[in-house]
């Protein structure tokens, strides 16, 4: 039986690829990544410097994959990875990293640091060292089908509510529909208006869509904790559901990491391309807008801004779509400082929101978002990720700020031409 440190080492050996080696080899310890990371800027604590969060994996790379490192290992001059070291790094790689990827934008030698944090978490999982909140969410996702334990029965109850609210049929398991809409647990339970909003928009656009009883959950705890095995299993459920219903496109909802999981990591996790397209809901809505199938009326006149969810914008490439859509319904839309791909994280991405231990730190680093919003003096912040939405609401409440948080999809649905 191998030790946790050995299992982590083996996972690192498997994860380290040519880009990783090129990144480690190029780092000059300039420390600029610290200034791109809200965990450093809001605390001033150097241990939160992004590249430092990767030190255990870097050591394995040096020891096993470099000439000099191997000589040092042979001479007994370097120590193998230890369980204590991994435990020390656990809060750094989980509590103080939201996988937001801002550090990857600033590194002068071009290191994609967050690409490596994602890999580092695979080693942590192999060693069994991860925050309890994330472990529990992953177990629920595998066993029940949702990290928050949302069952099909609960979904059906919410569908019935939404149908009553909007007076439209919400299709379930309709074979041959064009779109399969996924939802995050938060959207099903906390923000059920989302489902109704989608129903209204699709009805107006005249497109066929459906939910799937075996694949309704979009989130992927495997991506957050860093377990490719779990992540692949969760992606496979969606792929099976989409293939069973023979849909053309699967829609990733207003959730950040769900999009990364399904759109960018999914095919690599299950080892094959999909026979269907994956789009974020904002991509779909923007396509409908461009085709003239999304007709709105009336404008929000209050000054409002858009919070860019990291995984959808910076790491997902859906940058212009939310802006095109917002301009349809908001006459006083203003950008935050550092908008688009440079945006600052809400503080709760990458599994941080599921990690109770990280809560005080997460609340503390919200000061960056508070500052951005204070600068603008807006009364509303619109976003397109239910996790960001939760984090924003919590942070605003904590700071006694009178700013309301809206979902872009729901806002559009409010303005649909009757």
């Amino acid at each position: 039986m191998s030790t946790p440190a050995e299992r982590a080492t083996n996972a690192f050996l498997e994860q380290i690829d040519r880009p990783t080696a090129a990144f480690f080899e190029s780092c000059v310890h300039c420390g600029m990544c610290a200034h791109a990371c809200l965990f450093y800027t809001e605390t001033g604590d150097p241990q939160y410097t992004p590249i430092h969060k990767l030190e255990p994996m870097r050591r394995v790379w040096e020891r096993e994959f470099t000439l000099f490192g191997r000589v040092k290992k042979w001479l007994g001059l370097s120590k193998p990875l230890s369980e204590a070291e991994l435990k020390t790094w656990e809060p750094l790689v989980y509590d103080s990293c939201t996988l937001c990827g801002r550090c990857s934008l600033t590194c002068p030698v071009g290191n994609d640091i967050v690409y490596m944090v994602r890999k580092m978490r695979e080693g942590m999982v192999a060693a069994g060292i991860a925050p309890d909140g994330l472990k529990e969410a992953s177990i629920r996702a595998v066993r029940v089908g949702s990290p928050m334990g949302v069952t099909l029965q609960a979904l059906k109850a919410q569908i019935a509510h939404a149908e009553k609210d909007v007076g439209l049929k919400i299709p379930l398991d309709q074979e041959g529909a064009e779109y399969l809409l996924l939802m995050s647990s938060a959207e099903i339970m906390q923000f059920p208006e989302f489902m109704g909003a989608a129903a209204k928009i699709f009805a107006q656009a005249g497109v066929s869509w459906t939910l799937c009883s075996t694949a309704f959950e979009a989130t992927n705890s495997g991506i957050q904790i860093g377990s490719s095995d779990i992540a692949a299993q969760l992606v496979q459920r969606i792929v099976d559901g989409a293939e069973k219903l023979k849909v053309k496109t699967v829609i990733s909802p207003e959730c950040g990491h769900a999009y990364t999981a399904l759109r960018w990591e999914g095919p690599n996790l299950i080892g094959r391309p999909y026979p269907f397209k994956v789009q974020h809901i904002l991509e779909v809505l923007d396509e409908l807008r461009a085709a003239g199938k999304l007709q709105t009326e009336g404008m929000e006149e209050a000054k409002l801004t858009f919070h860019d969810p990291c995984q959808i914008v910076r790491r997902g490439g859906v940058v212009e779509q939310p802006r095109n859509l917002l301009r349809m319904v908001a006459s006083n839309f203003v950008e935050m400082e550092d908008p688009g791909i440079y945006n600052w994280c809400c503080g709760g991405g990458g599994g941080v929101s599921a990690n109770e231990r990280a809560e005080p730190l997460r609340i503390k680093v919200f000061s960056r978002k508070k500052h951005q919003l204070d600068q603008l003096g807006v009364s509303t912040v619109v976003t397109a990720c239910s996790n960001c939405r939760n984090m924003l609401e919590e942070g605003l409440e904590h700071n006694h700020m009178q700013v309301s948080v809206l979902s872009l999809t729901e806002m559009l649905a409010e303005h649909l031409k009757e």
């Binding site: 040519r18 190029s26 000059v28 300039c30 600033t106 759109r263 690599n268």
Partner: protein, 219 residues
């Protein structure tokens, strides 16, 4: 060994040894890098990775919006030091003569007074960056032996070059020999330290730009 003997050794055997270790080290580093390989990405690309990848190799020389303000010394010091080092290396006339003897061709150099100024500014910048490494919390926290070794072997050719340039000290021949030896030390150390970034930065920037580029993000 007297000054002239040492100079002769540094220019002959010494240089050959240094270049051999440098080239062997580089080869080893690139082989170990290449052997690692990379999995094919099965997700459907939104855009080509090639253009953005190449673009990032160049564009990452510029700071991200707002970054210059946060760490002005790292940025400005970084620019001045890199450009100053390259200018003194490549545009000091005696260096061009030396390179011509190896390459078979040369290029116009900069006037000595300019090299003098650039050399001095570069030396001062390197010292400032070292002081920052000691005093700034982030940089002090991150620094390891490797960082100080790299600083030292980069600094020595500049310092010895400056001393030889001004014929400071009593024995010019000895100073010149020490200057050449310091360059040889730099060559030997490059493949085994973070100084490797002078080659791998292009690869790192390429991967970063390409990974984002295929998702339709320009970094």
């Amino acid at each position: 060994m007297s000054g002239p003997e040492l100079l002769l050794w540094a220019r002959g055997t010494g240089l050959q040894i240094a270049v051999a270790i440098f080239l062997f080290g580089l080869l080893a580093r690139f082989v170990e890098l290449w052997l690692l390989g990379r999995k094919t990405d099965l997700s459907v690309a939104r855009a080509s990775a090639v253009g953005p990848g190449l673009r990032t190799v160049v564009s990452r020389s510029l700071p991200m919006p707002g970054a210059l303000k946060q760490t002005p010394l790292v940025f400005l010091g970084g620019y001045v030091f890199h450009l100053g080092f390259l200018a003194t290396l490549l545009f000091y006339v005696p260096h061009i003569h030396f390179l011509r003897s190896i390459l078979g061709f040369g290029w116009p150099g900069l006037p000595p007074f300019l090299i003098d100024v650039i050399g001095l500014v570069t030396i001062a910048t390197l010292i400032a960056l070292l002081v920052q490494r000691f005093t700034d919390p982030v940089r002090r926290f991150l620094s390891r032996a490797d960082d100080y070794v790299a600083w030292t072997v980069t600094f020595l050719p500049l310092l010895s070059g400056y001393v030889a340039f001004h014929r400071l000290g009593t024995d010019y021949t000895l100073m010149l020999a020490l200057h050449i030896l310091s360059v040889e030390l730099l060559l030997i150390v490059i493949p085994f330290t973070k100084l490797m970034h002078m080659f791998t930065f292009a690869l790192a920037r390429w991967y970063n730009g390409a990974i984002a580029g295929r998702k339709g993000v320009r970094v």
